[in-house]
């Protein structure tokens, strides 16, 4: 469904992403992990059209989308969320989600109904009239998810939707993400929270210093010596195995 081939992106002298490749198949939940500064968010931004890649290409459902503007990529059926949440602060949650829903319809009533339905999916039905600025971290993460979902994507790129959440909130949002996948939407997620990645993703890619160093099931990745060295550390590897 999504094919990334040897994608590179530099900022000045820094190779943020260096010939990274990955595949996402229809119906999967795929994780992308890596230490801080590995280039995960840059890779996401390059896939979603926010940075034009220096080299390599991105294909979505067989069509080349390399370097297309974000709104065209959204139209193709792929949408991203932001690690640093970007709520529309001065409008309500309902209006926030409606901006996403307006992608599919120009009709206000329909957009409103769609926004309310999506709010139900992510568990924000009770917060529709709250202002974007007044949400907690967990609320903002849900709102990111809801807005993206409202555009009706077939592939969701989630950038650390669990960062900064407490364990209860993580359990809740993991459930939400599973439900979204079960409704037929494929998911590629960047994640730091290992517990979440292992319980959600069928396959995991590991990025380190801009390079893709491993790919496999969460269990296999946890065994991979290169990954353990680059990212997890010996202690964490033991915890995962336990």
């Amino acid at each position: 469904m999504l094919e990334v081939r040897e994608l590179s992106k530099s900022f000045g002298g820094l190779k943020a992403v260096d010939q990274a490749s990955l595949d996402v198949r229809q119906g999967e939940i795929v994780g992308l992990i890596g230490p801080n500064g590995a280039g995960k968010t840059t890779l996401f931004a390059a896939i979603a059209g926010f940075h034009a890649p220096d080299a390599g290409h991105v294909a979505f459902e067989g069509k080349d989308i390399t370097g297309l503007a974000p709104h065209r990529i959204c139209a193709a059926g792929m949408v991203r969320t932001f690690q640093i949440t970007q709520p529309f602060a001065k409008i309500s949650v309902r209006e926030n989600i409606m901006v996403g829903a307006y992608f599919r319809t120009a009709d206000r009533k329909l957009a409103e109904r769609e926004a309310e339905a999506v709010a139900g999916i992510v568990g924000m039905a009770g917060q529709l009239d709250q202002m974007g600025a007044d949400l907690t971290v967990a609320g903002r993460k849900r709102l990111e998810l809801a807005r993206a979902l409202a555009t009706g994507p077939r592939l969701l790129l989630l950038d650390e939707v669990m960062a900064g959440l407490n364990p209860t909130e993580i359990t809740e949002i993991v459930q939400v993400i599973r439900e979204i996948r079960n409704s037929g939407i494929t998911i590629l997620l960047i994640e730091h929270v290992m517990q979440a990645v292992t319980s959600l993703a069928e396959r995991v890619y590991v990025l380190n210093q801009g390079r893709m160093i491993a790919e496999g099931t969460p269990a296999a990745i946890a065994e991979n010596a290169q990954v353990v060295e680059a990212y997890l550390g010996h202690g964490a590897a033991k915890v995962l195995r336990a």
């Binding site: 979603a48 926010f50 503007a69 974000p70 709104h71 959204c74 139209a75 949408v79 991203r80 969320t81 932001f82 970007q86 709520p87 529309f88 602060a89 001065k90 409008i91 309500s92 209006e95 409606m98 901006v99 996403g100 307006y102 992608f103 120009a106 206000r108 957009a111 917060q127 009239d129 709250q130 202002m131 974007g132 007044d134 807005r147 993206a148 409202a150 555009t151």
Partner: protein, 320 residues
């Protein structure tokens, strides 16, 4: 009928009856209130709703004023026909400025400054090219007949200003409830998020500045027809840009009634200070006193009421 709709209907009825009972000089003040509210709204649509703050909106105003005046004086067009042509010209200038500045990725204060630069360039051009008659300005021949967009009685020009104001309020009201408006607000609040959600940010910004430019140009023609004279500093002077921005900020940028309320407030201050200066000898030399009060008011609004006077009426957002 909701409470708001009832208030609007009452307000409109009062505005319609007002010139029937008010003396001429008060009709003129009312006319100015609605006219400034109208051009303020043209600023508000781009600057308030879409967050594309402009310091040079007068460029559209002047384009409108000059287009209709030149067509009329030099080419003998009827002003009513020249009016839509002026709006078209304002829209084109808006489109071009937006295309150039947004293609170059200018945002925030950079965009504000580039609009200011455009306005100054237009002022200097109007001063130097032959077809605007340079600094002499252009005089429209007085012939007070409705067919010439000139009226003997101030009541008619008042009603036209009122109609313009009502139309601009309807446009702003539509923006609060349609997709285009929702997208503008999304762009104002967070451009990157808007882009991620499938909004063609560039196209929407160009669209809104085109609309805003066309509206503002309509105000320019109106002004020229009211005073029958324009020159480069009237048509492209910075003070008009400031006036549009000020009424929106004072009343509440990004709100439907902000520019109208701001216009009422500033006109009231203007009249009161003028009266004060005439009765209090100590204030005679503080001229114009209104500017001093504007300044103080703007500081207070920015510091205390970021949502403008409208912020006083709006209910507080609910907290969880």
């Amino acid at each position: 009928m909701s409470r708001q709709a009832l208030l609007c209907a009452l307000g409109l009825a009062a505005a319609v009856i007002y010139p029937l009972v008010a003396p001429n000089y008060l009709i003129n003040i009312g006319m100015m209130v609605f006219f400034v509210a109208f051009i303020g709204q043209s600023w508000n649509i781009a600057g308030g709703f879409a967050g594309q703050t402009s310091f040079g909106h007068v460029v559209f105003f002047g384009t409108g004023a000059y287009t209709s005046t030149i067509l009329q004086v030099t080419y003998g067009w009827n002003p009513w026909l020249a009016w839509p042509a002026a709006m078209l010209a304002g829209g084109i200038v808006g489109w071009v400025i937006a295309f150039l500045s947004f293609r170059a990725g200018l945002r925030g204060s950079y965009f504000a400054l580039i609009t200011l630069a455009f306005a100054e360039v237009f002022r200097i051009l109007a001063n130097s090219v032959p077809f605007t008659r340079g600094g002499l300005g252009m005089l429209i021949k007085a012939d007070q007949r409705p067919i010439n967009f000139q009226f003997k009685e101030p009541i008619w020009i008042y009603y036209i200003a009122l109609a313009l104001c009502v139309i601009s309020l309807l446009i702003a009201w539509q923006l609060t409830r349609n997709r285009f408006g929702a997208r503008l607000v999304a762009i104002r609040e967070n451009e990157d998020a808007a882009r991620a959600l499938g909004i063609d940010v560039f196209a929407e910004k160009v669209k809104v500045l085109t609309l805003s430019g066309a509206m503002c140009a309509a105000g320019g023609t109106f002004y020229a027809q009211k005073y029958l004279y324009i020159d480069p500093s009237i048509a492209f002077g910075v003070d008009k840009s400031v006036e549009m921005l000020l009424v929106s900020m004072v009343g509440g940028a990004g709100t439907i009634f902000g520019p109208l309320i701001g216009s009422v407030a500033l006109t009231a201050i203007n009249e009161i200070t003028r009266w004060l200066a005439s009765v209090v000898p100590a204030l005679k030399n503080v001229q114009p006193l209104s500017l001093v009060v504007y300044g103080i008011m703007l500081v207070l609004i920015v510091a205390r009421l970021p949502d403008g006077l409208m912020g006083l009426f709006r209910r507080k957002p609910r907290h969880a």
